[in-house]
């Protein structure tokens, strides 16, 4: 089991590399669109992840770096899946399924990296909690952003507000980990409780931005 888990990020990054090439080539040959910038970013990100997994002692396999890479790669997969939605039915279905599987793999990878080495149980719980809220929050923010860009008439100056909850979330997560080292448990748990309210905040902001409850 342990050896299998070790190989997860490695096989993930290789599959991601192949996914990037496939989406790019199918787009190019069926629709005539060459998304070169996306290809370069995708290849760069998945290669970096591959490197960080293959060299456990390099600075690139530090937990923070690795998880940043996972997040960046999730964005690559997400945009790749979005690109695939334009294609013919067959390609779009297959690539979308692969995209979702990869995305699930990325999330697993994030949990795995965070929980990796001999942490106390309560710290692990905190990480799991924060990461889960983080994923929900990111997906929610991107979803609202997509809808807003799709339907809003002539740009919306308030769009930056949608990112406020994500930033607050990041700050709270950071403070929690700092305070944890100082062994101030009560503050940590209070902050963790606040963290639960952030997605609610996102929805409230969304309502305000989109105007009068939805659109």
């Amino acid at each position: 089991m342990a050896s299998y888990l070790l190989k997860l990020p490695l096989s993930l990054s290789v599959s991601l590399l192949l996914f990037t090439y496939t989406v790019y080539l199918v787009q190019l040959f069926t629709l005539g669109d060459a998304y070169m910038g996306w290809l370069l970013i995708g290849v760069l990100m998945s290669s970096a992840l591959l490197f960080s997994c293959a060299h456990p002692r390099s600075w690139m396999s530090k937990r923070a770096v690795k998880n940043t890479l996972f997040i960046m790669n999730s964005l690559v997969v997400g945009s790749g899946t979005y690109l695939a939605s334009d294609m013919d039915q067959m390609y779009s279905t297959i690539l979308t399924i692969i995209g979702y599987l990869l995305l699930a793999g990325m999330f697993l990878g994030i949990y795995q990296t965070a929980l990796a080495t001999g942490l106390e149980t309560n710290v692990k719980v905190l990480h799991v909690l924060n990461i889960t809220i983080g994923i929900v929050l990111t997906l929610g923010t991107l979803y609202f952003l997509y809808i807003l860009l799709l339907f809003s008439e002539d740009g919306n100056g308030a769009i930056w507000k949608l990112f406020v909850p994500l930033v607050i979330y990041g700050i709270i997560y950071f403070i929690q980990m700092k305070v944890l080292k100082a062994q101030r448990k009560r503050i940590v748990y209070t902050l963790a409780a606040i963290q639960f309210l952030i997605p609610v905040e996102l929805i409230l902001i969304w309502r305000a931005v989109a105007g009068g409850g939805g659109l």
Binding site: L50, L149, E153, D154
Partner: protein
């Protein structure tokens, strides 16, 4: 370490090949369109003029006994509408930029079918969306002109609106504005062959006072007498009939053939079919059952209704083909545009 270098080389190589392929096979947006654009006209002697895109280049053809290419424009241009002159010897067409912007203008051309000689009749700093020749006076041409643009969402292409009907006298080069309606959309412009009036499709918003009620308007066919454009009237059709869009009048049968939504397909996309309304019997008949997007009906001199069908409505690119049928909806057949 050797493994890493080997792997990096492999990735660089594959990525390089992909980029190279990208430069070779990337098709610019304006060169992607292929096939029938949808614009066509049928002359009194049965010739069909139509527009296709060939690698994005709008190309005007006329099919008589054989197919003849008359005009080909660069791929950044588009042909918005065309009309065969009543003598059947030349075709009028209006062209503009494919990507419309505030600076776009429209140019009306007349091209001789036999010689292919193309002359410019006029240019306007607005978008001419439709043409119709007056059946009573072949030197008078009516057109719909859109004066403003909007875009639905950032990044989307501009959409012309603020439409009104104008006419042009070829003999004395005179333009005349007939309506002052500033409509968001107008289509299916037709000129009456009996009296001095025109027919047009637009939203019936006479009862609407606020913008919020804008969604409650219904697409209807109007008759506008040119002598008194304010006295426009809705061509009678039962009140509860849904929106109707493109149409053609068939006076000798007392019928209106029109386009309306018939159904929704499994993917949630509307299916537009052609219907007819007989104003003597006041009955509505559904003429087509093609489960696609039937549009632009034209009444041919051979007594048939010609229309376009888009089999991929709601998809990325339209897949148009030309059909014809009897006005009662019988013998629907595809018209081959090959020799």
């Amino acid at each position: 370490m050797r493994k890493t270098i080997l792997f990096s080389c492999l990735i660089v190589l594959v990525t390089g090949i992909c980029l190279l392929l990208g430069f070779t096979y990337n098709i610019p947006d304006e060169e992607k369109q292929q096939g029938l654009s949808g614009q066509f006209d049928v002359s009194s002697n049965g010739n069909i003029a139509y527009v296709t895109y060939e690698k994005g280049k709008p190309t005007l053809h006329v099919k008589s006994n054989q197919v003849k290419q008359i005009v080909q424009l660069p791929s950044n241009q588009s042909i918005l509408d065309l009309a065969i002159m009543p003598d059947g010897k030349s075709v009028l067409y209006v062209n503009s930029d494919k990507e419309l912007d505030e600076e776009s203008s429209s140019t009306l051309h007349q091209v001789d079918i036999k010689s292919g000689v193309d002359k410019i009749i006029f240019t306007k700093d607005a978008i001419v969306t439709e043409l119709a020749i007056d059946p009573k006076d072949e030197n008078r041409l009516f057109y719909i002109q859109a004066n403003k643009f909007s875009n639905y969402s950032p990044g989307a292409t501009l959409y012309p609106y603020d439409c009104d009907v104008y006419s042009y006298q070829m003999e004395n080069d005179k333009h005349q504005q007939h309506t002052e309606l500033n409509k968001y959309s107008m289509s299916s412009l037709q000129v009456s062959s009996e009296d001095d009036s025109i027919y047009i499709q637009m939203d019936d918003d006479a009862d609407v006072e606020t913008e919020e009620n804008g969604f409650e308007t219904k697409g209807r066919v109007f008759k506008i007498p040119l002598a008194n454009p304010d006295y426009k009237m809705v061509i009678s059709i039962p009140e509860d009939t849904q929106d109707l869009y493109d149409f053609v009048l068939i006076p000798d049968r007392s019928e209106l053939v029109y386009q309306a939504v018939a159904n929704t397909n499994s993917a949630g996309i509307y299916e537009y079919e052609l219907f007819s309304y007989n104003w003597e019997t006041q009955s509505i008949t559904q003429l087509t059952h093609l489960h696609a997007y039937a549009k632009y009906p034209i009444y041919g001199a051979d007594g048939k209704v010609y229309f376009m069908v888009d089999d991929d409505f709601g998809g990325r690119d339209p897949e148009n083909s030309l059909y014809r049928m009897n006005p009662d909806g019988s013998s629907v057949e595809e018209v081959s545009l090959e020799e």
